[in-house]
Every structure is written in C-alpha cells, then in structure tokens.
Symmetry: C2
C-alpha cells in the first residue's frame, strides 16, 4: 500500500492507532469543503430543491424569488454561489436567467463524501 | 398531492413554470444546511476522513493533531463542531478523548441531499 500523505508513521506515539488506508489528501478535502460551503446556507439548499422540483429540472430566476421570500439581487447572489460550486448551470434567455441542476453533480458530492470516509 | 409550502400558485406570473413536486421545506433546508456547514471546512473534512481511516473507525484526539498540523485546542474545536453536527461521537477515556464516526450519519446526509433534489 502506498504511503498515505496524512499518515504519521515517522512520529510514533504511545496512543497512535494504525490507519487502515490513506485518508483524504488536503487538496481533495479543500475541494469537498468548498462544495459543502455552497450548501451550508438554508436559502441555497431551498433554491437547489426548488430548481430540482421544476419541470425539466430548470427554473427561471423569476420563479425563485417568491418561494424564498427574498429580493432578486439576493437570490441571484445565492444562485451565483451554486453555479460557481458546479451545482447549477445558468443560461440567459432574453430578460431572464434560467438555472438548471448540473446532472449528477450532487451524486458526485455524495460519492466524494463516502470515498473520503469509506 | 398536498400543497407544497414553497409553491406559489396564488401568485401567477408570465414566466412561472409548474412545480412537479413539493420542494424542501424551510426547516428541512435549515437542518441540512447546518450539517453542510460542519463539513464546509477543509480541516474538518480531513479530520472526518482520518477518523474513518483508523481501525474500528475510531481515533484518539492525540492521533489527529499531527496529520492536520494544528494544535490540539484547534483540533478539539473542529471535532466539537463535527460532534454537534451528529457526524462524530466523543468518548473520554482517561486522559484522551476518542472520536468515532456515527454509523450511517454520512449516508443519511447523502440521502437527504438527494431527497431534496430528486
């Protein structure tokens, strides 16, 4: 088994138990934490859920302000964070922006979480 | 189908597309976001991963400081957040505290995420 970046074989301690397998490397942990940060706000979880509940998994920004009771600039700010995290896509059509779930993005997050702790 | 708390049938709009199903209610979104907040820090993702990589899925706090390169009070603070989020258990044995994964806690998070966006 290759050496795990996070093991500490070189510094034995009376209390140290062996690692069964390599733990998540710092870069993988950083990427995963960034996605969780995008999901760490109740409004953003609601927005994601509302987009997913729409026909074709797509919703106009004009459909999203009322359900969460926030002004459009605030909603757009939250949606931007979800787009930057790779969880939603954004497409401008005329006056309105339309948001859709990135296929399998949440499945990948769930798998990454399980891989990190399997 | 019962009325969804987040639908907005009473306020028709030219742009509104129909919801196929109820979206996540605000309380469920709040609970889920709280768990994601605990996972939104790279150190905490690493700590969870390192605990999971240990034999029996349990690790002494004394095994956790070196891999993440932080002092024990800082590590204990991060571990406390993971315990409060229901992701780890903590057991004091003599001088040291031992942390273990809560069985199925991460599976439940993954399922809740999928339920909110299925």
């Amino acid at each position: 088994m290759p050496a795990a970046p996070l093991t500490h074989d070189a510094a034995p301690s009376t209390c140290c138990a062996p690692l069964l397998r390599p733990a998540a490397d710092p870069e993988a942990a950083r990427r995963l934490a960034r996605t969780f940060k995008a999901l760490s706000d109740p409004t953003r979880v609601q927005l994601l859920s509302i987009v997913a509940a729409h026909e074709d998994g797509e919703a106009c920004v004009c459909d999203l302000t009322e359900p969460v009771g926030l002004a459009q600039p605030t909603v757009s700010h939250h949606l931007k964070i979800l787009v930057e995290a790779g969880l939603l896509t954004r497409e401008q059509r005329g006056r309105w922006a339309y948001y859709a779930l990135v296929p399998d993005a949440l499945t990948h997050v769930a798998h990454a979480l399980h891989d990190a702790t399997r």
